[in-house]
Symmetry: C2
Subunit: 112 residues, 2 copies
DNA sequence: CAGTATCCTCATCGATACTG
DNA sequence: CAGTATCGATGAGGATACTG
């Protein structure tokens, strides 16, 4: 039994899924694994996600200590998002997900 | 670019998330990693999920070749769900998620 | 550029009851 | 036991427009 910021979790899996289990967060942290990115670049990388949702998800990830937000005081504004040290720890997880996807696509799909 | 059953995916991550990214599926496949389970046992393991949802998620996982469903012809009925060979391939992924959860809880939470 | 503000849709999931 | 049927809630996410 773990307690994190007043929420209780029975199992570590629950903790991980609490942070990352929604429609888009995994995609966003995955995109940040390459390195820091500006808000605009994240939006362009995911044209299917609205600005509003990206903004909201980044906030949630920041609150969960997964993402750092750096504001460069200039005009026009520049804000860079990057994975925190904690956030970088998702790498093995992402790699495993990637590998599974490759296997699955090879087994049930085709490359075009 | 991959094509799987008439759906297109740009990246293997997308494939994996297409199969597993919803509120409950990860929990269900995780529970099946231990071995086959009856419908009832899955329900009891997740009292927070309704029967209806569990039933629906199992169907989707079966359709995605992740889960096998075996009916024992007896009264009262007995149905066992287990991971398919494909389903078992999630193990490294689940392990990585578990490990991340442990790290996260140790860093930001406390054990009780 | 990096967001907010509104308003709204729709899928997901829940509660409850029922059946082969 | 292993589901299905119905109805209903809700909140995540979308569309669009606006701002410092």
């Amino acid at each position: 039994m773990y307690k994190i910021e007043n929420e209780a979790f029975v199992c570590p899996m629950e903790v991980t899924l609490h942070i990352l289990n929604d429609k888009w967060k995994m995609f966003i942290v995955y995109a940040l694994l390459d390195g820091p990115r500006r808000f605009k670049d994240i939006c362009e990388k995911f044209p299917k996600i609205t600005q509003k949702t990206i903004s909201q998800k980044l906030k949630e990830l920041e609150a969960a200590h997964m993402v750092n937000r750096v504001v460069y005081p200039q005009v026009p504004p520049k804000v860079e998002y990057s994975l925190s040290e904690t956030g970088k720890r998702i790498e093995p997880m992402v790699k495993a997900m990637f590998d599974f996807g490759v296997f699955y696509a090879e087994t049930y799909g085709c490359v075009e």
